[in-house]
Symmetry: C2
Subunit: 342 residues, 2 copies
């Protein structure tokens, strides 16, 4: 690897000072057309490219955004990770930004250490946060140190930071509306535990829609659990054990995994999903399209969210002004499939 060509090399060849070359490269020069051409020619001939590190040092900006996310548990997977990342990467690239990714530690102190290091060593300009917890220490740290960041998803009692989130409540309204239009009068829910922020947000939409349609609700129509396949399976069992007249004819599930568990139970009992019991999921994972029966579900446009979140963050960085409004909700959309078709 030979020495890099620098401004000085170009300057020498174009017979100007190297600072002038810099100005030309950065488009704020005040030079005659001839000199400018000479400079660009020299740049081409020598294949000059500005050194990113030197530039960063001088302008005290890295054009780099830090991101870290909680890894999916073994045997589970994160259905939107790839799309979300690609959405962010693509938009970042358009603005000349890059992503610096680093591991996620469950231990909060260790996790915080990562953020602290990156900030202290001036390695990134800003962060994206996801899966922000209640009183998330990283979010607090960033707020305190006035490091710009945007979150994908909000915390329980919203701290006052900018975020973009999926409108889960709206999603459940869409689901309930759909079921109500199909004539379902008794609509149950398979949900996360009551302390789940995302879960409660979605459940509010469920209750709201029921009220709008003047539909009844009952405590034992709402089954809760850890969000996995087994939970959905057990929840459906509990619902089926109610007396037929008193049980829901359809359920909305807070995620697809539980919905699949519910479908499995239905089929085990010889019941026909869609006809005997409508089932709606949330996430629209790839398997929703492929399962037998295919699953009606709410799709989150992860790549658009990724792209949007970058757009907002970069605007903030470039104008030095936090976007307003700083908190936005993106509507999911309902994909209707066999699990709600009679």
């Amino acid at each position: 690897m030979t020495r890099q060509t620098t401004l000085k090399d170009v300057a020498e060849r174009a017979k100007v000072s190297f600072q002038t070359v810099s100005k030309v490269v950065n488009k704020n020069a005040n030079v005659s057309p001839e000199t400018e051409k000479r400079i660009w020619d020299a740049i081409d001939e020598l294949n000059y490219h500005p050194n990113y590190t030197a530039r960063s040092l001088r302008v005290q900006k890295t054009r780099t955004i830090g991101y870290s996310w909680r890894p999916s548990q073994p045997g589970r997977y994160n259905p939107i990770l790839d799309n979300f990342l690609q959405g962010m990467f693509r938009n970042a690239e358009r603005h000349g930004y890059y992503f610096l990714c680093f591991p996620f530690h469950e231990d909060a102190e260790k996790r915080l250490g990562n953020y602290r290091d990156l900030i202290n060593s001036k390695r990134v300009d800003a962060f994206i946060l996801s899966t922000v917890n209640y009183q998330d220490p990283c979010a607090e740290y960033l707020l305190e140190h006035e490091i710009p960041f945007y979150a994908f998803g909000r915390s329980a009692k919203p701290q006052d930071f900018p975020f973009i989130d999926v409108d889960g409540g709206l999603g459940l309204e869409l689901a309930v509306n759909h079921l109500a239009e199909l004539g379902h009068q008794h609509i149950g829910a398979i949900a996360w535990p009551e302390d789940s922020r995302v879960g409660n947000d979605r459940m509010e939409g469920y209750f709201r829609a029921l009220r709008e349609h003047s539909l009844p609700t009952q405590n034992n129509w709402i089954q809760r659990g850890e969000g996995d396949h087994e939970t959905g399976y057990a929840a459906m069992e509990a619902l089926l054990n109610l007396r037929p007249a008193e049980r829901p004819s359809a359920v909305v599930c807070m995620n697809d995994e539980m919905a699949f568990g519910a479908l499995a139970k239905l089929q085990e009992r010889g019941l026909k999903p869609g006809k005997d019991m409508g089932v709606v999921g949330f996430d629209d994972v790839p398997a929703a399209r492929l399962s037998k029966p295919s699953l009606t579900s709410l799709s989150q446009p992860a790549d658009q969210i990724g792209s949007l979140i970058m757009e907002r963050l970069i605007t903030w960085l470039e104008t030095d002004k936090q976007p307003d409004p700083a908190q936005e909700l993106i509507p999911p959309h309902l994909v209707v499939r066999e699990s709600t078709q009679p």
Copy 2:
């Protein structure tokens, strides 16, 4: 945001020259214990952290590794992405390296442009490549410019670059052994098209194992297609249309998605997977554990591979010597479930 504390601030407080502080920080100082303590105290009190950009500029290394991957198609997903990334991130962190991620463009020229930019601007020290194509232009570019890189997976006619790959052939041997031990004599395969590098690699293991067990093989026992659910479904249909005496009693599939398609067809025909037809997949996606019946599959230790690939690459960077051997195969392991249990 106040001005960063620098070496000079520390030096002033510790009453030494700033270069001496630098030496202490980098552990190659030659100072008395008292001065050293004074310096460390000053560092603590002022909360000094070395500026990464300045350091990079000086040493002409960024301790940053570039990575980009082909996004999963809509409606499909990448089962090992998250684990692979986290494995790399964690090991990189241990050595003080970070990851720079950027989008993947299908257009080869544009894709190459990304690599070129990162190299020319001296933004990364090395790359990880995945899904390397036959005569991959990016790999060629990196070879030509002597930029260190490691690939996850190899190309068709192996160019001579360092890689780590899953031993797909071994995986299929394990699968066939397992089926043979269960007494299966006729073992078919649901495979990718014949020009698939990964596919052929796996199929060689299939043939090898059949030979070892002196089991017969037949052209129409091998069905090929694009690797999706529909392919598996159609392939199983074709196999079931063969006369019972002339058809396989078990199949190995090149991925889980096709295996699920095959299972769906079996169930549609009222046949019992495991009993009437053994089915083995490849990838061990989360759904393999949850499906009804659950799917026997080959699991790739993605996080270990990620970690190992980083280990090798960083060794290379730190010693300036390409590791030897530069090409390694990692064995997958078979997870036995209901789809091969009578």
